[in-house]
Symmetry: C2
Subunit: 284 residues, 2 copies
Amino acid sequence: MLSKKHDVLLVCRKSHAEEIKRNGLRISGETDYVAHPDAATSLKKSDAELAILTVKAYDTRQAVKEIAGKCNCPILSLQNGIGNEETISEIAGSERTIGGITTHGVRYVSPGNIIHTGKGETIIGEMDNSLTRRVKKYADAMTECGIETKVSRDIRREIWRKAIVNASINPLTAVLRCKNGYLLENKHAKQLMEKLCMEATIAAKSNGIDVDETEIIKRAEEVAYLTRENYSSMLQSIIRGKKTEIDYINGEIVKAGMKKGVEMPANSFLIELIKAMENAAVAP
Amino acid sequence: MLSKKHDVLLVCRKSHAEEIKRNGLRISGETDYVAHPDAATSLKKSDAELAILTVKAYDTRQAVKEIAGKCNCPILSLQNGIGNEETISEIAGSERTIGGITTHGVRYVSPGNIIHTGKGETIIGEMDNSLTRRVKKYADAMTECGIETKVSRDIRREIWRKAIVNASINPLTAVLRCKNGYLLENKHAKQLMEKLCMEATIAAKSNGIDVDETEIIKRAEEVAYLTRENYSSMLQSIIRGKKTEIDYINGEIVKAGMKKGVEMPANSFLIELIKAMENAAVAP
């Protein structure tokens, strides 16, 4: 979408890059558009104004190392999970780090083809809660191109809120192998979702994050409802025998909680279950 | 097997009963034998010497009510889970109750056909730990017919040990949809199995049951190994969209633990997961 008004280079896998260079990136679903960004499998030295990170959390370190050596621009994380900004900061410096989340849903279909499965919101912000010209500029640029983007003066809170909601929905649907909406239909599943939320909220609060239990449970239910027909990304990973982001979602929450002496047995149990399912043989 | 030397009436579903009366009960697998017991779908008034209960734990109450009104003999439970003997005792009286377990594995294939999937041991005993002539007589009768049976003077302990092993293997394989052997192959699954064992052992001890944590974990691992190629009965129930015995296995253990103030978060979480899976739509 940004390529409407800006020079964009998409760094991605070879088959995807080749198809995008040949025929563009075909977006269907909630958005119907063929974008024509440049595409490549790696970065060259660049005077880019901004790097946007959308890789899985377990690839953050490697991606940031590549970016940091090739250009001097700020790096904006629009990823899932907790800790991405800390990794960016550690490698590229805190002044180059911008935090963010997006709740748009997208599914990769085939090289050059993606589906925009759900409209969401995008929020970015400085990690020190200041309101800078650069974040306003980036938010405006994204909004102008059709990606409505807000600036937050407490982006860490937004990242945690999204992570808690993900932590309560994704691994549960992966274990139950159900659509997100099932968490509202089945009373046992709903109770587990609430339990995970409650534990995570206590962990967040003990780390100085301003979240409210009732509000976050309501938010999780709302997200489960809005995405009721979707299979979560974590379930998709499990079905494909891929690694999940569990360490960066529930894992980081448990780590943060434990550091403050908060026991998190439900999240801890679920993490091990997901890890036991990664690469597991699916039953008959 | 008992029909080799005794008059046996098998009470079971209609199609099974009809086939058994016509062509006998064909046992394959570890045992190769065609037995010819009588069979029916309900009990008539009877002067039977012994009633052996093998129904799912959630059907105990109904089965015992039917038996209690039709005959005056002792009722021996060879079921799964905790609480069956208490239910028998409540309905038919403590003097008619005999406790027991068996670790033989059997799979129903079709009317008149079952597979003996794994050799195991059978243990029976009086609930007050006394050594009576009747339990010796029943154990001898079963052993003589090829079902090797021991008498225990602490049958409650044996029932708990089996339940703890079941509680650690069955729901875990049902959630992971894996063969029992996977619990030994995958370090995360193995860790969860041990965690469930440990919680249950504490619950058992707090209820005066003489079990040892190290010994019971070793036993669970041994059972998982011996049945490594099997899909547990609980996984089979989940796949068929049937109700499971979770309330009578992990459920009773948690109830017993909670009564003594023992928190059991892993077992509690797993119970809700299994209940969320009962009748659940299976994912793609």
